[in-house]
């Protein structure tokens, strides 16, 4: 049946490979080279300078500031998103009234674009027209913070929006994983007299461990990025207090024409994400439960 198979293989693969190699593989390889160059202008070619960009990064306070903000998101986002998504998923798999309605409505922010969500929440947080502060004033808080204009609250305010939009997604993911756990395990636990809380910790969590691991890595990759939401809601402000690495490298490259340095920041960001994923996978490694 595989006679003349290359007459299928070549035309079926060739267009895809051509597009993919040109627009994906080539830029990634080229990025690794450009990160080792000084490249400022559009006219002059990149000049090889070895690891000098990375040495500069070590001294660059704006780089550390942006990395620190990504670090805050990398702790805040997984903790709250996973915590709440697990909690809701567990409740909704127990069969509660309006369960279907909750699943549908919690997930909805996921189909909106991050930009639309960012605009929506910029309105909610707005000091004059926003519903949040007028709610706070009505319950007696006279001077609520200017959420996006205050360096102390801006990371929390932007991070909350990402948690708000992500919970539904991870909840659905956990529900699918929880529903795959064989009922017999729960039955046996109940016969042994286990309560809801015990069942959750000793059966549900171990049984969905791999999904949990995937979820944490997904959220961390998201927390390392944060480009669209930051660009929409704060542009990195006030005075760089919500700047993240992706917006910093974008500004360095496309506003300051520091193409070599901007690419080096991108490569550093990739290395950081990669290392975190590897370390996390090691840390979370467990013997897979057989059932």
């Amino acid at each position: 049946m595989y006679r003349n198979k290359y007459r299928v293989i070549i035309p079926f693969l060739f267009p895809s490979l051509l597009i993919y190699l040109t627009f994906v593989i080539y830029p990634y390889l080229r990025a690794m080279y450009i990160s080792l160059t000084r490249w400022r202008g559009l006219a002059k070619p990149p000049e090889f300078i070895g690891l000098a960009n990375f040495a500069k990064m070590m001294q660059d306070e704006y780089f550390w500031n942006a990395l620190g903000n990504n670090g805050v998101y990398m702790i805040m986002l997984p903790v709250f998103t996973i915590g709440l998504a697990l909690f809701f998923a567990f409740l909704l798999t127990q069969g509660v009234p309006f369960g279907k309605f909750y699943r549908v409505s919690y997930f909805f922010p996921q189909v909106m674009s991050i930009v639309a969500i960012g605009v929506l929440w910029s309105f909610v947080y707005h000091p004059l027209i926003g519903m949040l502060n007028s709610l706070l004033q009505s319950i007696g808080i006279n001077e609520p913070p200017v959420w996006l204009g205050n360096p102390d609250t801006v990371l929390g305010a932007v991070g909350s929006v990402m948690i708000w939009q992500a919970i539904g997604f991870f909840m659905i993911m956990f529900i699918a994983s929880m529903e795959a756990v064989p009922d017999g395990l729960y039955e046996a636990a109940r016969i042994d007299g286990a309560t809801g809380w015990h069942i959750f910790w000793h059966i549900t969590i171990p049984m969905i461990w791999e999904t949990l691991q995937t979820a944490i890595i997904f959220i961390l990759i998201g927390a390392a990025n944060m480009f669209a939401i930051t660009q929409t809601m704060t542009m990195g402000g006030p005075s760089r207090s919500s700047e993240v690495l992706s917006t910093y490298l974008y500004d360095e490259a496309f506003l300051n024409s520091e193409f070599g340095y901007g690419t080096a920041v991108a490569v550093a960001l990739f290395v950081i994400i990669f290392l975190i994923s590897v370390v996390l996978q090691r840390l979370m490694k467990r013997d897979t439960l057989e059932y």
């Binding site: 895809s16 627009f23 639309a116 605009v119 519903m131 997904f218």
Partner: protein, 297 residues
Amino acid sequence: MTTETFKPRKNEDDSTGNQPDIGAFISKSVLNIVLAIWAVVVIFPMAWLLYSSFKTDKEIFFSPWALPAAPQWDNFSRAWTEAHIGDYFLNSFLVVLPALFLIVFLSAMAAYVLARFPFPGNRFIFYLFMAGMLFPVFMALIPLFFLVRTLGMLNTYHGLVLVYVAYSFPFSVFFLTGFFKSLPSELHEAAIIDGANQYQVFFKIMLPLAQPGLISIGIFNFLGMWNQYLLPVVLMTDSKRYLLTQGLAFMLHQQYYKNDWSGLFAAVSLIMIPSLIVYVIFQGQIQKGITVGALKG
């Protein structure tokens, strides 16, 4: 869940009293209230935005929570024409629809070959496609910008279409390869014996069989492309060709200079409503399509 199932074990956690049924009832009610509160937290901001977009600027400023006194339909027509939301919609369609068609078609062909035809280099090509999932897009961003510029494709629809397609390959090929592997091979063999050629087998037998997989991957890619922001920000810098996401961000930032808040609210509503309708109709498939990556990965 019945109270029976979750009754505490004897002698444990029983210090609260000897009325476990009332305790269980209270904790159940609390949990239901928590679920309802979260539903309000998710839905209310969007509902607030929708009804606020019918208000006048004055009402938006002086009574943020109140319903509009009289619906201002004019907000929507201003958003559609003066704020160019109509143009942005069109631009988004002109990029996303061709890109979606191409990625489903091309990745199905590539995945079919990778799943069904052993040949030297098959694994290598598969892993080459997978490698794209390892790297974040912004690492490629700067070289990509110069490449697209050199090819004369900056600010063109077809340039962005090709880039969208290219970056959708890794996951689409990964997912569909798994899908084609799971299809029975007997049909394929039978068709060949009956004298069908390989193209007929693919288009007449394999593609229809793969339809559920193609729908999932289509939904997944549609949402990703429709909501994409980073790539158009770099590759579509001409404000006449802004896509919807860019147009929206642009309007928000403009608003600090112009003061048409009601128009801006209406614009965001216009963008939200289609997503809302599509989601309510197809929510089952969308939830499956969008989480498919996470569960297979």
